[in-house]
């Protein structure tokens, strides 16, 4: 990757690798989330295709890419999970998998930190606080 001026100005999403990187990340990430006993029960939906699409939308959002997610949707989308007991430990587990996924894909540490910061800012919405 070159470091032209244009590159430096491009979004975090682009610097991570844009859509192809998201496509690669979503399977790794979703697999980690599904096999984590602390949180897998929140993902019991059998429609895996649809769920993988949701995971991709989430990844795209936290990487600062073009996404349709708003804080309001996050609240609505997680309200039923909060009723089932979704709390900070579960949120932390997801962030942990996000970090591991990006690191595994060779994303530079400062970029990973930025993504995690954005993810962290969604905590209040996800947990409906």
């Amino acid at each position: 990757m070159s470091t032209s001026v244009a590159e430096k100005q491009s979004s975090l999403y682009e610097r991570i690798g844009g859509e192809p990187a998201m496509a690669a990340a979503v399977e790794l990430f979703y697999r980690k989330v599904l096999s984590d006993e602390r949180i897998s029960h929140f993902f019991e939906d059998v429609d895996m295709e649809r769920q993988a699409a949701k995971q991709k939308a989430f990844l795209t959002m936290v990487c600062g890419g073009p996404s349709a997610y708003s804080g309001k949707d996050m609240r609505k989308g997680h309200a039923h999970l909060v009723r089932q007991g979704l709390n900070d430990t579960h949120f932390d587990a997801v962030v942990e998998h996000l970090s591991a996924t990006l690191t595994e894909l060779g994303v530079a540490k400062p970029l990973v930190e930025q993504v995690l910061a954005i993810a962290g800012s969604a905590r209040a919405d996800v947990l409906n606080r």
Binding site: E27, R31, L34, S35, V46, M48, A52
Partner: protein, 338 residues
């Protein structure tokens, strides 16, 4: 209020009701089976109005572009005018032979009387002259002169019972389709293939394997055929013969109950697969048969490293009767009692 126009007449739909249920409730005959958007027997075409995207999931692009949709998955927002059922897509076919493959499985051979193109492993909707529709996977290869279906006898089953007891060579049916993404795509001949079927889920896999071999697939091909007991296994000799001609083919008949015997593995299918093929990352998978097994295996194989894009699955969803009386309350009551 949402409403549908069918053959010149308007029909109002209840809140959240599908086009299929709304028409059936008012006595309109529409072929259907699963009522879950899987079998494609309820195909219809919209002439005017907005078709929700959900009603076109799984349809070929050419059908989508022409306004076709699945009536059971279609809950329109406003007015929808349908131009007719999928009748214009149907091809008449004649039964050429009916042969028992085992006590519980019948091989039905059909000759289409018109153009009918398909890929080995796809499925078709079979319509009897009275409109009864059920989906069956194709076990034959496109260059064979007849289509082959493997039909399992379902206790009290209307279509399978008729095929077993009453159908005769020469009888006429209609075919609609083909549909489904379970087929072999040439391109990576060295890739390992993992095929898992329960019961007549073997039908499409039997087509896919022979297709892959004919097209020069060189990588290992693993076939796991699962049944409750040995009486549920069939084509055992044919598959063993195929294996002896193609050493890359590994055929594993498996049963969940019964005594161990030569050449048949006893145990839970997912555990057997995990033991024999522990790391299927980078493989291509095909899963067909009982919905529970197909869905849980898909998840397990994904977790074991198979990419979602590389897993092709056809769940053989059974028919679901429409809600009686038209009230939503009835529908949830009968659902709960299942």
């Amino acid at each position: 209020m949402a409403r549908v126009k069918h053959e010149g007449q308007w029909y109002g739909l209840d809140e959240g009701e599908s086009v299929l249920d709304g028409l059936l409730r008012r006595g309109v005959e529409v072929p259907h089976s699963c009522r879950a958007g899987a079998c494609q027997s309820c195909l219809m075409r919209a002439e005017r109005g907005e078709v929700p995207a959900r009603a076109q999931v799984g349809l070929k692009e050419t059908l989508k572009a022409r306004g076709y949709f699945l009536a059971c998955a279609c809950q329109p927002e406003g007015e929808l005018e349908v131009a007719g059922a999928g009748a214009d897509l149907r091809v008449p076919a004649r039964i050429t032979s009916l042969e028992r493959l085992s006590d519980s499985v019948l091989c039905v051979r059909l000759r289409p009387e018109g153009d009918f193109e398909y890929r080995a492993g796809q499925y078709v909707s079979v319509l009897r002259t009275d409109g009864l529709a059920r989906s069956y996977s194709l076990a034959s290869l496109p260059h064979e002169d007849t289509l082959a279906l493997h039909v399992r006898r379902v206790p009290g089953g209307r279509m399978s019972g008729w095929l077993f007891e009453e159908a005769r060579p020469g009888d006429v049916l209609e075919l609609q389709g083909p549909a489904g993404e379970c087929f072999y795509v040439p391109g990576r001949p060295e890739q390992s293939l993992l095929l898992v079927g329960t019961g007549t889920g073997l039908a499409p896999l039997y087509g896919i394997i022979r297709d892959a071999l004919e097209r020069g697939h060189t990588g290992p091909i693993w076939l796991f055929h699962g049944a409750v007991d040995v009486s549920g296994l069939y084509l055992v000799e044919e598959l063993r013969a195929l294996q002896s001609r193609h050493p890359q083919l590994q055929y594993r008949p498996c049963v969940s109950k019964g005594q161990a015997r030569v050449g048949v593995t006893v145990g839970a299918l997912d555990a057997i697969i995990k033991e024999v093929c522990p790391r299927p990352a980078g493989w291509r998978g095909y899963l067909c048969g009982s919905p529970d097994l197909v869905l849980s295996l898909r998840k397990k194989l994904f977790l074991a490293g198979l990419s979602l894009k590389e897993i092709h699955a056809d769940a053989f969803l059974p028919s679901t009767p429409p809600p009686q009386g038209g009230a939503g309350v009835m529908a949830s009551a009968s659902d709960a009692s299942r």
